[in-house]
């Protein structure tokens, strides 16, 4: 095989979606994939005109989204199936995990959920179609509403739900939405938007979306697009690099809405050792939280602080390691490949018995490291560090502004711990085993997302 044909054989063509139309082509090559040439003029909606859906009634938008969800379920044109296959081929997620994640996507587009989202995150559906009147104690009457924004979304690719929820929220704002695709999910957003375009060709909502790839940080694109004359807000999902790059462009009139990169932990009280059955149940719940998206998500637990003697902790670690090897809704049994640097960190700790005890092999079924101090490295690829503590209150010092979810067992101890954890910087307390789910209609990363996306406009007397 010549060099040229080898490249051709492994390059995947990634379509773009620009203002409701699919654009194909392989003009720009990025190694393993190629995209159509980027026409940056086509990616902006000039402020001289209102966005296509600015004045579309919200009920009509919800109808379109519901129909999109239904069509995604049936997928007669095979867009989602095609995206799934492409993702399974090049993506980092296990095929089974990815499949179940794709199967869940249409359920996010139900009317019930979207209405709950608007009510919870915004404060009422009336704010999207018109003005709400308030009178202050001084007798002055004002009106305000949620006005459609102009958004650039920098998507994360570690779970396909990110693309779906970004499209849903973007559509519900009635605003214009430019989605910047991540290299680890080049397909999901476009597949959903192509389905939308079939359900409602030429509809204002359809024309309000573009989804394209450029290399994050590419000055030739970002320097010209990320300006207040075109967009109001940059909505960034994690990715330290993308946040640092975003910082260059943020200024008056162009704001950053950051779903910050996060890490998550668990706290397990001595109540877990009440009986063998309880311990088994706790280990299962803990494994569920660790293995979310094979531990690639911000909600995946990486450190577990446990009130236990060393012997108790060892018994727990053994159970936990076995549980981590089981296939779950968002976890493969053994589908994770561990980076060699992490494997070597772990192998080094194996030599440090009794200060560190390592349970499990680096074979994708899960590794548990038991220690008295947290390890220095970032546990990933189904690796968890169980740290023995005197009391869970002591463990609060390990929570910080980077800590998103804290899973606690037993749930009765949440009331005691949650204020301390919040004071230390964490944003989300859950009962151990419940880290997956939620995040819609309630605060996420410390704010109400839809509320942050829209522009709040007042009309005062």
């Amino acid at each position: 095989m010549t060099e040229q044909s080898r490249i051709a054989a492994t390059t995947v063509a990634v379509p773009h979606f620009v203002k409701g139309e699919v654009v194909t082509g392989s003009d720009a090559s990025y190694g393993s994939f190629a995209t159509p040439a980027l026409d940056i003029d086509a990616l902006v909606w000039q402020r001289t005109d209102a966005g296509p859906a600015f004045y579309t009634p919200i009920d009509e938008i919800i109808d379109v989204l519901v129909a999109t969800g239904e069509r995604m379920k049936a997928d007669p044109s095979g867009y989602l199936a095609e995206a799934f296959e492409a993702m399974a081929l090049v993506g980092d997620l296990d095929r089974g995990v990815l499949q179940r994640a794709y199967q869940h996507l249409p359920h996010m587009f139900t009317r019930e959920w979207m209405e709950f989202l608007i009510k919870g995150e915004l404060g009422g559906i009336d704010l999207l179609d018109g003005w709400r009147t308030v009178t202050d104690p001084g007798g002055r009457t004002s009106q305000y509403r949620a006005f459609p924004p102009r958004l650039v979304h920098v998507l994360a690719g570690n779970a396909p739900g990110v693309a779906a929820i970004s499209i849903i929220r973007g559509a519900l704002t009635k605003g214009i939405n430019l989605l910047k695709l991540p290299s680890n999910d080049l397909f999901t957003a476009t597949a959903i938007l192509r389905t939308l375009a079939e359900v409602a060709p030429g509809h204002p909502v359809t024309r309000s979306f573009s989804a394209v790839y450029w290399k994050g940080g590419d000055e030739n694109v970002e320097k010209y697009l990320l300006r207040p004359i075109f967009f109001d807000k940059l909505v960034a999902w994690g990715g330290e690099g993308s946040l640092r790059s975003a910082k260059k462009y943020v200024g008056p009139g162009f704001e950053l809405v950051a779903f910050d990169p996060k890490t998550s932990i668990s706290m397990i009280g001595r109540e877990a050792f009440a009986s063998p059955e309880t311990l088994a149940m706790v280990a299962e719940a803990a494994a569920t939280d660790i293995c979310l998206y094979d531990q690639s998500a911000c909600t995946s637990s990486r450190f577990q602080f446990i009130e236990a003697t060393m012997e108790q902790a060892e018994a727990y670690c053994e159970l936990l390691q076995v549980e981590m090897g089981k296939e779950r809704l968002t976890a493969s049994g053994c589908g994770v490949r561990m980076p060699s640097t992490l494997r070597e960190e772990i192998d080094a700790l194996r030599s440090l018995d009794p200060f560190y005890k390592v349970f499990g092999k680096c074979d994708g079924r899960g590794v548990v490291i038991l220690s008295e101090d947290p390890v220095d490295f970032h546990p990933e690829s189904k690796t968890v560090n169980v740290v023995v503590v005197e009391s869970l209150e002591d463990a609060v010092k390990h929570a910080s502004v980077a800590t998103q979810t804290v899973g606690i067992y037993p749930p009765e101890r949440k009331a005691d711990l949650r204020e301390r954890l919040a004071a230390a910087g964490s944003q989300r307390i859950v009962t151990l085993g419940s880290a997956l789910g939620g995040g819609v209609g309630i605060p996420h990363d410390g704010f109400f997302p839809l509320h942050r996306l829209v522009r709040w406009i007042t009309d005062e007397c």
């Binding site: 690719g157 570690n158 680890n184 290399k215 990715g239 200060f355 101090d373 980077a402």
Partner: protein, 447 residues
């Protein structure tokens, strides 16, 4: 004589760096087999790796690839050992990566990490460390035999037209006088072997202290746990700035001395950016092109480390220094010796170091061991007595396995001059919502 001894015995033979693969590979294979069998007995971590990857025969050099470690291994100790002063545990950790017993190390009343290193040296473990930009340094153990080899390597500089020791050169070293970096250890050997005892100049007369580096790690932990105060962070940054100002002043003084002695032979060792600054400083003092003594040695290497220099900086530098000698190589602190650069700018293989070109993930060969192959650089250094020195690096290199090529006058396996780094995590545009506190620690300490 064993195959390994044969390879090491090639040092300073006229064709040491220009041998054909046909001559070298059979010897390297045999030496690698011998060494692996011995090291598996000594190092459980290597034995485990061999068992887990199912490597029990070495028929081809590529069979060694699963046995190469990443640089992580040599800094895989838990930071808490250092912060809590658990030197017995640190010693045990180092022992797992070392062929020699650690029993002779005096662990009584160790005050800090520098003290620990000096105890290791006192017991014959001549460890060198890396610069640890992340606040965590690697510890690479060496025996006296390993250091003897280093000194033998330094018996000649400036291949392919070498010079030999003679205490005739003024020595300018653009770094601290001493410390456990391999570069400093080598610089001190060079100064002793080549330098005029009355004219040895260092940017700083202090010893490089690891404590200063680990203090940074402690500060990061404090910040991560929310215990740091704003004034502590400010003091840390202020300290770094003051050090910078002090160094700049000393550097100017050193440039003045270099200019004054430019008509006599000298050895200048430093980074490219520093060389550039010497040129600018000297020009500002009215020095023109080609005024340096022809036996002057410019010793540099490595990348630009983010410095903003013109693309033809080397050409410009050597136009300025004139017809001087140069010692440049491609290597790293972990290698026993860098691949020396020939007159055409290509780096030549050292007989006892087996280079590999791997795919981006560092798992498989990027191509067959013939022709020109580009990928991640890895190597097995057969010389080290104290450790198993097979490593996968972050460098993207092009290696030419051919016997000869039009671009070089000298034959043998070469590494091309264009060497770059593979993207760090996060730079490959794969975006996920998971992150760590590191993203929140900004400023100089987080850089």
């Amino acid at each position: 004589m064993t195959a390994r001894e044969t390879l090491l015995g090639m040092l300073h033979q006229p064709n040491c760096y220009t041998m054909s693969q046909a001559e070298l590979v059979p010897l390297q294979l045999e030496a690698a087999r011998e060494l692996l069998a011995e090291r598996r007995q000594q190092l459980p971590i290597l034995d485990r790796r061999a068992r887990e990857t199912g490597v029990d025969r070495i028929d081809r050099l590529d069979d060694l690839i699963p046995l190469l470690f990443s640089h992580t291994t040599f800094k895989s100790y838990p930071n808490s050992f250092v912060q809590n002063g658990q030197w017995d545990r640190m010693t045990k950790w180092l022992g797992t990566l070392t062929t020699r017993s650690m029993d002779g190390v005096d662990l009584g009343d160790i005050t800090d990490i520098d003290d620990w290193v000096s105890r290791l040296w006192a017991a014959g473990h001549l460890v060198n460390t890396t610069s640890g930009t992340s606040g965590k340094v690697s510890f690479l153990n060496r025996t006296q035999g390993d250091d003897d080899l280093l000194q033998r390597c330094l018996q000649q500089l400036c291949w392919p037209e070498p010079i030999h020791p003679g205490n005739k050169h003024h020595v300018f070293f653009l770094g601290p006088r001493s410390g456990p970096y391999l570069l400093l250890i080598a610089a001190n050997h060079v100064a002793r072997m080549y330098g005029r005892p009355d004219s040895l100049h260092y940017l700083s007369d202090e010893t490089l202290r690891l404590t200063d580096i680990t203090r940074m790690a402690e500060m990061r932990l404090k910040m991560a746990e929310g215990r740091a105060t704003p004034s502590e962070i400010a003091a840390m940054e202020q300290n770094a700035r003051e050090k910078g100002v002090e160094m700049a002043a000393r550097f100017s003084e050193m440039i003045r001395k270099i200019v004054a002695l430019r008509h006599e032979p000298m050895i200048i060792t430093g980074g490219w950016l520093q060389m550039w600054q010497i040129m600018e400083g000297a020009r500002a003092q009215g020095v023109g092109n080609g005024e340096f003594h022809p036996d002057t040695v410019i010793q540099s290497g490595g990348g630009l480390k983010g410095a903003d220099l013109p693309a033809d900086y080397r050409e410009q530098l050597f136009e300025f220094f004139g017809d001087v000698r140069t010692q440049q190589g491609y290597g790293m602190s972990e290698m026993s010796m860098g691949f020396p650069m020939d007159k055409d700018g290509y780096y030549h293989q050292i007989p006892w170091i087996i280079p590999f070109v791997l795919d981006q993930e560092g798992v498989k060969p990027a191509g067959p061991r013939d022709g020109v192959v580009q990928g991640r650089y890895a190597y097995l250094d057969l010389s080290n007595e104290a450790r198993w020195n097979g490593l996968i690096t972050g460098d993207r290199v092009t290696i030419d396995f051919r016997e000869t090529r039009p671009e070089t006058r000298l034959p043998g396996l070469v590494v091309h001059p264009a060497i770059s780094r593979y993207a760090n995590i996060g730079e490959d545009d794969k975006i996920g919502c998971a992150g760590t506190i590191d993203a929140y620690i900004s400023g100089e300490i987080g850089a």
